[in-house]
């Protein structure tokens, strides 16, 4: 029996495990990302490749050492570098003597189906549909709870209360395999999270939107758990990029992209790959919804985000919204980040005071 593995990205492991085990495969989840994973990636990966490539490479090495022999990786056809990750990682791993098969998911479902059959033998379509159903449900539920967690952290009564609930929820949903159970879990945790609601830690509501490259936005190890730092500073955070929104866009199921494009049109006329145009469009949309500030996250040398980073100052000036661009590499330390975020939140509160809309004690 072949053992499947896949890279980490935020809560992807929950849904990916559900999908592959529902299809009846053995799944080996790479060990959680640690400093060791990063070190492995940096050691073997190309020097100027972006951070996600290195971390994924580390994931694969650790998973292969645990016994995995099939790697499932996302593919694509550009212009972001992500589409070519798999190919480069395959070459590097083979070069270093690792034995495995790699299967790249391309944006072409028929091609993917035949690829899966080639590696794993026959699978009935009914089984696939079943697996997709439960996976989709899980992804959606996790994202809904996550959105709530981001809001509730700013108003929790006891420090760390929300995180505790969130971690418990992730463990429980990972175990259930029934759709009804997932619904029940969702209701239960929404109620429990709403119960934690107290007053704002800073006395006022500071709303911060997070935009940027999907891997940095979703993976807490890489972004140094920025949403937690912000939550503890009393800011309620909103993200626009989730697995659900990405999949919906990928399968052309949502109008979100049309909205983003029209919002960004004044500043950036066409898509630049990755989430470049999303960063611009969402910044404008956040500004329209009277958010206090926006933070852009991206890995060092990320091409689409560099384009947005160049344009964002103009957006920030004319939409009158402060934006903080953070580029992460393998050396970023969390003390420096914390200081910058504290200063940013302070600035936003001061700005609110100046407007005279609120009075701070």
């Amino acid at each position: 029996m072949k053992k499947i593995t896949f890279p980490h990205m935020g809560n992807l492991d929950i849904s990916a495990r559900a999908f592959f085990s529902e299809l009846g495969f053995d799944v080996i989840i790479p060990p959680p990302i640690t400093k060791k994973t990063l070190d492995l990636g940096v050691k073997y990966g190309p020097e100027f490749a972006c951070l996600p490539l290195k971390i994924n490479l580390g994931n694969f090495i650790e998973a292969i050492e645990k016994g995995a022999d099939v790697i499932v990786m996302g593919g694509g056809c550009g212009p972001c570098r992500f589409g070519y990750y798999g190919e480069v990682q395959k070459e590097i791993l083979k070069e270093n003597g690792y034995q495995f098969e790699m299967f790249m998911l391309e944006p072409n479902l028929i091609y993917d189906y035949y690829q899966i059959r080639k590696i794993f033998g026959k699978i009935s379509i009914k089984k696939i549909i079943n697996a997709v159903k439960i996976t989709w449900k899980k992804i959606k539920t996790v994202d809904i709870i996550h959105k709530l967690v981001l809001k509730r952290r700013a108003t929790e009564k006891k420090q760390g209360q929300v995180d505790k609930l969130y971690n418990k929820f992730l463990k429980e949903i990972d175990k259930t395999m029934f759709i009804d159970n997932i619904d029940f879990l969702m209701k239960k945790y929404i109620e429990m999270l709403n119960d934690t609601r107290g007053s704002f830690k800073q006395g006022v509501e500071v709303k911060i939107g997070i935009v940027g490259e999907i891997y940095l936005v979703l993976e807490p190890f890489v972004n140094l758990d920025i949403e937690n730092i912000l939550g503890n500073l009393g800011a309620s955070v909103e993200k626009k990029i989730y697995l659900t929104s990405w999949l919906e866009h990928f399968l052309h199921l949502s109008y979100e992209m049309v909205r983003i494009k029209s919002a960004a049109k004044k500043y950036l006329k066409n898509s630049v790959g990755g989430h470049g145009i999303d960063s611009i469009g969402n910044t404008v949309l956040f500004a329209n919804r009277n958010f206090d500030g926006v933070i852009q996250l991206a890995p060092f040398t990320c091409m689409p985000e560099i384009v947005s980073q160049s344009i964002i100052p103009r957006v920030s000036r004319s939409e009158n919204i402060p934006v903080l661009s953070l580029f992460y590499d393998e050396h970023t330390a969390d003390a420096g980040l914390k200081t910058r975020l504290e200063a940013f939140v302070d600035l936003l509160i001061r700005k609110k005071e100046m407007k005279g809309s609120i009075s701070c004690v």
């Binding site: 100027f48 190919e87 630049v272 470049g276 040398t301 384009v307 160049s310």
Partner: protein, 327 residues
């Protein structure tokens, strides 16, 4: 009357300048090119650019600043794709928008969107769009377009006879249409592989090409190969590389490694912060290792000192000569 158009001497200048020039000239404009890159241009560009963007873009910004108050139009095409299933680097796709964000009082931009994935004769359509922007009639545009196409063919032919892009541009200025370049047997052959806008810019590449030619070395650069050969060589990689200009670089590397016996070494010239190159470099390096061909990786940024670079080149040449004598 607005009639002066500026072309910054950077990025796609090295791929298409002769045809752009004749096209804009036929449209009744006076073409002004910024001077070759110098320290002032680079410094100005670095000042306005974001830190992380790659070196050639910083240089390009500098050239734009240089032209700012001398011209009425600025020719800044927005490259997206040059055919089915290929792209250019995302930074090209946002180039006019990035300029607008960095520089406040830009002259009117001529910013054709070069997206050749759909349509019949898409380049001709683009030409007519420019014609409309400049208020020229249909026939003038059509004639200008065909002249530009012819010029581009001449430009390509000169390059394939063994001249670098800048040499070919200079030959065309002198109205010289063919000139064979000889490949001397018995000399070292080195492939200098990198984007045209890096290897041909004398300032950022520290005039590497001239230095090597003075050492009596046969030099091959990416622009000297026929596209079909490169395309074929690039298919050695199982997944198709979707950045077209990097596919050319990778194709020429693979062509040198596998199809030509006489190449002694490969110099990979990349710019600091170039995204696609960071991946392609790795793939080429692995292939070179298998065939035991020597590679020198040069990563250029705005701080590179000339002395350090020359020392590395000298050492590399010494190594290749030693290797050749041993064989």
């Amino acid at each position: 009357m607005k009639n002066k158009v500026g072309i910054p001497r950077g990025l796609m200048y090295y791929y298409y300048f002769p045809s752009w020039k004749i096209f804009l000239k036929e449209m009744g404009l006076k073409v002004i090119v910024s001077p070759p890159t110098n320290k002032k241009i680079l410094d100005n560009g670095v000042k306005i650019a974001v830190d992380d963007i790659c070196l050639p873009f910083k240089v390009y910004y500098g050239h734009v600043l240089e032209l700012l108050d001398k011209v009425d139009y600025l020719f800044v095409p927005r490259f997206i794709s040059l055919g089915k299933n290929n792209y250019v680097c995302p930074k090209f796709m946002g180039l006019p928008d990035m300029l607008r964000s960095h520089i406040n009082d830009l002259p009117e931009l001529i910013e054709p969107t070069i997206d050749l994935r759909k349509g019949i004769m898409p380049v001709r359509t683009i030409a007519h769009k420019i014609g409309k922007q400049l208020n020229k009639n249909y026939i003038t545009t059509e004639l200008a377009y065909w002249k530009a196409v012819k010029k581009h063919k001449e430009f390509k032919r000169l390059q394939q006879q063994g001249h670098t892009a800048v040499e070919s541009i200079n030959l065309l200025e002198k109205k010289q249409l063919t000139m064979e370049k000889k490949i001397h047997n018995g000399r070292l052959s080195i492939a200098v592989l990198g984007h045209c806008y890096i290897t041909n810019d004398k300032y950022i590449s520290m005039d590497m090409i001239n230095y090597l030619s003075e050492q009596d070395i046969n030099i091959f650069t990416v622009e000297m190969f026929n596209n079909c050969i490169l395309e074929k060589a690039a298919t050695r990689q199982s997944k198709k590389l979707f950045w077209i200009y990097n596919r050319e670089v990778m194709g020429s590397a693979f062509h040198m490694i596998y199809d030509r016996e006489q190449v002694d070494g490969i110099i990979q010239v990349t710019a600091f912060g170039c995204g696609p190159d960071s991946l392609v470099k790795e793939l080429v390096e692995i292939k070179c290792k298998h065939k035991s061909i020597s590679v020198l990786n040069l990563n250029l940024d705005e701080h590179t000192g000339e002395a350090g670079l020359i020392t590395r080149l000298e050492a590399f040449i010494d190594l290749l000569q030693r290797k050749k004598m041993m064989a």
